[in-house]
């Protein structure tokens, strides 16, 4: 098999960390607003992933063009934990794939941009459907193999939930990406420690998580998933010459709203009008 391995040869971004932090705050407010308006959704897992997605989309990491969303040379972003659609659509609006006014139809019937509870490629910027956990890493790997066949230096970023790592298919994909030396595949684990039923540790513990990925021969990094500088630094590291990369990001479910943080209860419910007002006061 001929391997065609790319190193990170792009100019490094010079991110304005303060600006990215402001953007993340703005996106949290937007995500909470649309979840509140919809009357349902997943604020906890949206907020834990917000800083990671902000860095990818607005820190100069992802190569994308909303005016040419199917450019074959684009980088890919996959939200494997599809329930965080509230933040995903907010990011897509901010990035220019959809209008901010489109967000009013989030989770509503006849949504013109198909802003379903879980993502679908009818929405501009969305590559493939998610919502059933465990599939995104395999899909990302398929894209990584495909773009490599075409000789493009596209990178594929896949955000995985921590609860999602309990799905066996994730580890099938981990083995495959090692086999094919798919170093253009970058998994980011939103390790918020909380799943729907329980805290992840009690539901089924993932630890020792770094060792698990290392045992699968991945290039393993661990960061604070709410430290924007740390996120930007790790995302700008040169690719390993052979290994796929996993970034384990320690995050907090519901990050940014004190009464949501770390709470299982805020996995899949919209805030009441009172809670919404309270939350907005914290997101400043």
């Amino acid at each position: 098999m001929s391997l065609n391995i790319f190193m990170n040869d792009r100019p490094l971004a010079t991110p304005d960390i303060k600006q990215l932090e402001k953007t993340a705050l703005e996106l949290r407010r937007l995500a909470l607003k649309i979840i509140f308006q919809a009357g349902s959704g997943h604020p906890g897992g949206s907020f834990s992933a917000t800083d990671l997605m902000t860095a990818l989309f607005f820190g100069g990491i992802l190569k994308y063009d909303p005016k040419n969303p199917k450019d074959p040379k684009r980088d890919r972003f996959l939200l494997s934990k599809g329930h965080a659609s509230g933040i995903y659509y907010s990011v897509l609006a901010k990035a220019g794939y959809i209008a901010e006014s489109d967000l009013d139809s989030y989770r509503k019937i006849n949504s013109p941009r198909f802003l379903s509870g879980h993502p679908h490629p009818k929405t501009p910027g969305v590559e493939i459907a998610s919502g059933s956990l465990g599939q995104g890493l395999s899909i990302g790997h398929g894209i990584a193999l495909g773009t490599r066949l075409d000789g493009y230096d596209s990178k594929v970023y896949v955000i995985l939930g921590d609860g999602e790592l309990q799905e066996g298919q994730i580890w099938e994909a981990a083995m495959s990406a090692d086999k094919f030396k798919s170093n253009n595949l970058i998994a980011i684990v939103d390790y918020n420690k909380v799943a729907q039923d329980n805290i992840t540790k009690d539901l089924k513990d993932l630890e020792p998580l770094e060792d698990k990925w290392r045992a699968f021969n991945w290039d393993v990094h661990r960061i604070d998933g709410h430290d924007m500088k740390a996120i930007m630094d790790v995302l700008q590291l040169p690719l390993d010459p052979e290994k796929p990369r996993v970034i384990i990001a320690d995050t907090i479910k519901g990050k940014g709203v004190s009464f949501m943080e770390g709470k299982t209860a805020w996995h899949g419910v919209a805030p009441s009008p009172e809670d919404y007002e309270k939350a907005l006061k914290e997101l400043v």
Partner: protein, 309 residues
């Protein structure tokens, strides 16, 4: 016309269509048996053996499809589909990715490996999935043409292939078209709609019946979805009775599909279904199982005679 398993024709067809750089082939560790290895030997860069991990394979194929490739994800039907209902629903069908799912070793014809290897529910399952089309070729020529047609067709498809040898039925003058049935032999009185290996089995039954002066019509239904409604309605109307024949469970397969067409069109005719009678079979040779579980030419001939009484 060659006597060969449809999986052999598939492997040969893959090599032929492989000149198109968009064609990629995946297998789940059984490429020697599915014959996808033939493609792998010729085009190693575009062949991905994912190991015994069907869920990963199906989603990897979906990813390759979103990157503009035309993936043929190949495996034993039992595991290719049995282990991946969710992956097929979400990453292939709902996402409408251009993935061809190719399941070999279908039906009781698989034989001695027993019920864990005899896929008898795949047509039912795949027919029920929105956006999915279902194709089962009857012989070498049709498999060659259908493989090419599926590569050209844009959208999810299930291609149902067999392990055992089947006789050549069509020559190169045959023109396969997705969604079209084909009259194999024109007779009168009764029409059999058959699919896959059961076309060959029905032909054997017809030879037996012709000795008794019974001349019937045989139709090859290779596209199970979308099914050829017009042809089914026309031929059901012009014959006294209808029989369906499939190496698949009684529920949800060809018999159900034809029955739905007739019911929707309010056509009432004597109707019999040759199929596995909602049970798991056992080990044994394919022909032994066909005899014991009601799929053999003898059973077809008897059903014809009973229908014409």
């Amino acid at each position: 016309m060659q006597t060969a398993p449809t999986r052999d024709a598939y492997g040969t067809a893959l090599v032929e269509i492989g000149s198109d750089p968009r064609i990629v082939v995946l297998d789940a560790g059984v490429s020697d048996s599915t014959r996808s290895k033939k493609f792998g030997d010729k085009f190693p860069d575009r062949f991905f053996n994912m190991g015994i991990a069907e869920a990963d394979m199906v989603c990897t194929a979906a990813g390759l499809a979103t990157a503009g490739k035309i993936p043929f994800a190949t495996g034993f039907a039992c595991f290719l589909l049995g282990r991946t209902m969710d992956q097929v629903l979400v990453s292939v069908a709902y996402s409408n990715t251009n993935v061809k799912l190719v399941g070999t070793h279908t039906g009781l014809a698989v034989g001695e490996d027993g019920p864990t290897a005899q896929m008898i529910v795949d047509i039912a399952y795949m027919r029920a999935i929105p956006n999915m089309i279902v194709v089962q070729p009857a012989d070498w020529e049709e498999t060659m043409q259908a493989t090419r047609a599926l590569a050209e067709y844009i959208g999810p498809a299930y291609f149902r292939l067999g392990r055992s040898k089947v006789k050549g039925i069509f020559d190169s003058s045959y023109k396969f078209e997705i969604g079209k049935g084909r009259v194999v032999k024109k007779g009168s009185d009764l029409v059999i709609f058959a699919t896959g290996i059961m076309v060959q089995e029905s032909l054997t039954a017809m030879e037996m019946l012709e000795k008794d002066g019974i001349h019937i019509t045989l139709v090859n239904i290779s596209t199970l979805k979308p099914i050829d409604r017009d042809l089914i309605i026309e031929l059901a109307d012009s014959h006294k009775a209808v029989i369906t024949a499939e190496d698949h469970n009684l529920i949800g397969g060809l018999g159900s599909a034809v029955g739905e067409v007739l019911l929707d069109a309010q056509i009432s005719k004597p109707f019999k279904r040759i199929a596995v009678k909602d049970q798991f079979a056992e080990t044994g040779t394919g022909p032994e199982l066909f005899e014991k579980y009601g799929l053999s030419a003898n059973h077809i001939a008897k059903a014809v005679k009973d229908s014409l009484k």
